[in-house]
């Protein structure tokens, strides 16, 4: 497997991305086969920097291993069917998480779509962990790379707190109430002395009853999963809105100059719709009970393959009705209002820092020149990533230009020129229009050189 030069992921990000795997490993706990999963999860965390490709495949492997351990052993026909279904669902989940890892590394759109799809496929703890994890990761990454490490911890905690509030609002109240109000299920004691045949072994009747009870409970579980289809759709919409907010927030963090309808209004609309949805969700859960909430809380719904017969968790879904829906609804609205307030506050701060186009041209001109130079440099970095020559995170711009010049001799001069124009803008707060024009010219040269080089490489590969 050939290793390519890739942008390494920050250590915190690696840890956060590894959380879903650790969760999956937790599912398989108690089985000795789970240990390879733990080892592979550790490999992901520690190996991502040096061997991103290998670590990604290790991630796939760890999920497959976890699912195999989780899906196969009981070997009862119905159980097997349920677990096989679970296996295929989670197989897709593994791919999506893999895409998420790739997307996080390259910063592509997939980083955001993947957790959304994960949530749709698995409206339980995996999705609930994956979304805030990757959302937090993206926000941290964007914030860190734009403003340095100073505000990362604070902003990261803020984002995490908001997501945690949302997730807890959706999950906790309903199952809590459901479990509290569910009737205790009498344990099936197959060891009753009067049913013993005397030989100390269960009778044929006993075994049949056990099987009937098992199949019955599995059927109840599957029926529950069908009932939850509408809740899955709700969850998908919910996840979509969450992803939308994160995406918009990230866009705004990346480019505070963005002043379009998407950047300004969608987060607010999203937050409002989210609030309404969670409100309605709380009400419906209080009247209907269970749902993604209980799935998430229990983490062992029929959807994720563990149709454990006769457990309180399945029954909780049936009887899980909140006594009072208002705390859920109020918490939901509070969470949505927090998101909206954060958006508005950020929007106001941006306006204070960056004057609107109505400002005088004298004010606007250097700002524009600064952005143009920085944008040219970003485009240069994108170009290099595409050409497989991405900047290492520990390289300074000058070191990167010199390294690039060693492999791409023709690119040395324009890369050095662009770097020399970029450094005063980035680290010295200087800007001038002539510099912006020169930076764009240098970028154009680099684009021609690197794209030609890419084509030649592709041609060689085809030959």
């Amino acid at each position: 497997m050939s290793e390519v030069a890739l942008e390494p992921v920050p250590p915190l990000a690696k840890t956060v991305v590894a959380l879903p795997f650790v969760w999956l490993a937790g599912l398989a706990w108690g089985n000795w086969l789970a240990w390879p999963v733990i080892v592979l999860a550790a490999l992901i965390v520690f190996g991502f920097r040096q061997h991103p490709q290998t670590a990604r495949y290790a991630a796939y492997a760890s999920i497959y291993a976890a699912l195999l351990v989780y899906a196969v052993p009981p070997w009862e026909p119905l159980w097997f069917a349920a677990r096989l279904n679970s296996f295929f669902v989670a197989l897709a989940l593994a791919h999506l998480l893999g895409l998420g890892l790739d997307g996080v590394r390259t910063g592509s759109f997939w980083a955001w779509l993947a957790p959304l799809l994960v949530f749709v496929a698995q409206p339980s703890a995996t999705g609930l962990i994956a979304i805030p994890s990757l959302g937090l990761l993206g926000a941290l990454e964007a914030r860190k790379l734009r403003l340095g490490t100073k505000h990362v911890a604070r902003d990261g905690l803020l984002v995490l707190a908001v997501f945690a509030a949302l997730v807890l609002t959706v999950t906790l109240p309903v199952p809590r109430a459901g479990i509290a109000r569910s009737q205790p299920v009498a344990p099936i004691n197959l060891q009753k002395p009067e049913e013993f045949t005397g030989a100390g072994r269960p009778s044929v009747v006993q075994v049949r009853r056990q099987r009937e009870m098992t199949e019955l409970d599995v059927q109840i579980g599957l029926l529950e999963s069908v009932k939850k289809t509408s809740l899955v759709v709700n969850s998908a919409l919910l996840a979509f809105l969450l992803s939308l907010i994160v995406l918009s927030l990230r866009t705004r963090l990346r480019d505070p100059q963005a002043r379009n309808i998407w950047a300004d209004f969608v987060p607010l609309i999203g937050a409002a719709v989210l609030g309404v949805m969670i409100f309605a969700y709380g009400l419906s859960a209080s009247s209907g009970g269970g749902g993604a909430g209980s799935a998430g809380m229990n983490g062992r719904s029929p959807v994720n393959g563990d149709a454990t017969p006769g457990t309180a968790s399945v029954r909780a879904g049936q009887t899980g009705a909140a006594e009072n829906p208002w705390p859920t609804a109020l918490l939901s609205l509070l969470a949505a209002a927090t998101v909206a307030w954060l958006m508005l506050r950020r929007s106001r701060t941006d306006k204070m820092v960056d004057p609107e186009p109505s400002a005088t041209s004298a004010n606007l001109e250097p700002e524009t020149a600064t952005n143009r130079v920085r944008e040219a440099y970003r485009a240069f970095l994108r170009l290099c990533i595409r050409a497989g020559l991405g900047r290492l995170e520990t390289e300074t711009p000058l070191e990167f230009a010199q390294r690039l010049g060693q492999t791409q001799t023709l690119a040395l001069r324009p890369a050095s020129d662009l770097t020399a124009l970029y450094e005063p803008v980035r680290y010295g707060g200087c800007s001038d229009t002539a510099g912006a024009l020169a930076a764009e010219r240098a970028l154009e040269s680099l684009r021609n050189i690197l794209q030609v080089d890419q084509k030649i490489n592709r041609g060689e590969q085809h030959d």
């Binding site: 942008e7 920050p10 390259t106 910063g107 592509s108 759109f109 990454e141 964007a142 790379l145 734009r146 403003l147 340095g148 490490t149 100073k150 990346r254 920085r374 440099y377 970003r378 485009a379 970095l381 994108r382 170009l383 990533i385 595409r386 900047r391 995170e393 520990t394 390289e395 300074t396 711009p397 000058l398 070191e399 450094e423 005063p424 980035r426 680290y427 010295g428 707060g429 200087c430 684009r447 794209q451």
Partner: protein, 320 residues
């Protein structure tokens, strides 16, 4: 202004020191940053000559003390002598602008420690009286590697007070050839003339402090220093004084390069000389061949440099 000042000094010193511009630049940056310089290398590599050439070029008053095992603290700071009617304080060689402590690690730790107060606070306390030293006050100390005979290891507290530790190193063959040629008739140090003076240096120092350092680069400095404290091979990591030193030296290097702002390259360039002597490597790691230099290199190659956000949008389609 700083770059002109720096060029004059470096050009003048290079008449004596052949091919050592990098060491001279770093030493000058440390002086501009208001710090003291420790030159460490094997005998005969030109440490003392570099210190003398810098002192002469800067046009500062210069005193030198040869550190030996029998040197007493009062030999450095000064001593009160009874003159028949009262005690009169006779200042030691430390009362100067540039003090050369030659072979500092041949003196006992007690005598070495006599320099602590002078280096940190620019004053000397003797006979219950505190006396202020000159401004600027610079200590340039030379030492042989601790592995050599008759040397004492400098206390950690004192090592921390040296802003940078520099290694002069052997010249390569062409440089050594040029040195022989230049020194054939007489040593150029005897004809070296000052190209600056004390007030000039003080002015340059205040200009260095005004050099811009982006908050993200400040965070980068903190991250580097904190990373040294987390190394398992290290018994003692770099102190907060190291952060201040790294910031100051990076600013001075930026000024010497003619820039009004610091680049991450300045920080990376300054880091080895600022951090290495502040790390106390564990014995077991040292036995395995781990050195402070390799650890600092490792830290520099693990802490991310603040540049630009990782791009996310696809490249715009180019018009053909």
């Amino acid at each position: 202004m700083i770059d002109t000042f720096g060029k004059q000094i470096i050009t003048n010193v290079s008449r004596v020191m052949v091919g050592k511009d990098e060491v001279v630049s770093l030493a000058l940056a440390a002086i501009l940053a208001g710090g003291h310089v420790l030159l460490e290398d094997v005998p005969g590599t030109g440490k003392t000559m570099l210190a003398r050439a810098l002192a002469v070029s800067l046009g500062l008053s210069f005193r030198r003390a040869q550190f030996t095992p029998d040197l007493l603290p009062s030999d450095i700071t000064g001593v009160s002598i009874y003159n028949g009617s009262s005690f009169e304080f006779v200042p030691g060689p430390i009362f100067t602008n540039l003090f050369l402590a030659d072979e500092i690690n041949r003196a006992t730790p007690k005598t070495q420690s006599a320099l602590l107060e002078a280096m940190a606070e620019g004053q000397v306390s003797a006979d219950g009286q505190t006396r202020t030293l000159g401004d600027p006050f610079i200590v340039i100390a030379t030492q042989n590697p601790v592995e050599m005979d008759g040397t004492y290891r400098l206390p950690e507290a004192q090592l921390d007070r040296f802003l940078v530790r520099l290694t002069v190193g052997y010249p390569d063959a062409p440089e050594e050839h040029a040195m022989l040629e230049r020194l054939q008739s007489r040593h150029p140090i005897s004809s070296l003339k000052p190209v600056s003076d004390g007030p000039n240096l003080l002015e340059a120092r205040s200009a260095v402090r005004a050099i811009r350092l982006e908050p993200e680069l400040r965070s980068y400095i903190v991250a580097l220093v904190q990373a040294t404290r987390k190394l398992p091979e290290v018994h003692l990591g770099a102190s907060p004084r190291a952060s201040l030193a790294l910031q100051a030296v990076a600013q001075a290097l930026a000024g010497l390069a003619g820039r009004a702002f610091v680049l991450p390259d300045d920080i990376k360039r300054a880091a080895p000389s600022v951090l290495e002597h502040r790390l106390i490597v564990r014995s077991e790691a040292r036995l395995k061949g781990v050195s402070a230099a390799s650890l600092v290199r490792g830290v520099l190659s693990s802490v991310p440099v603040p540049v630009e956000p990782v791009p996310v949008e696809p490249l715009p389609v180019q018009a053909r």
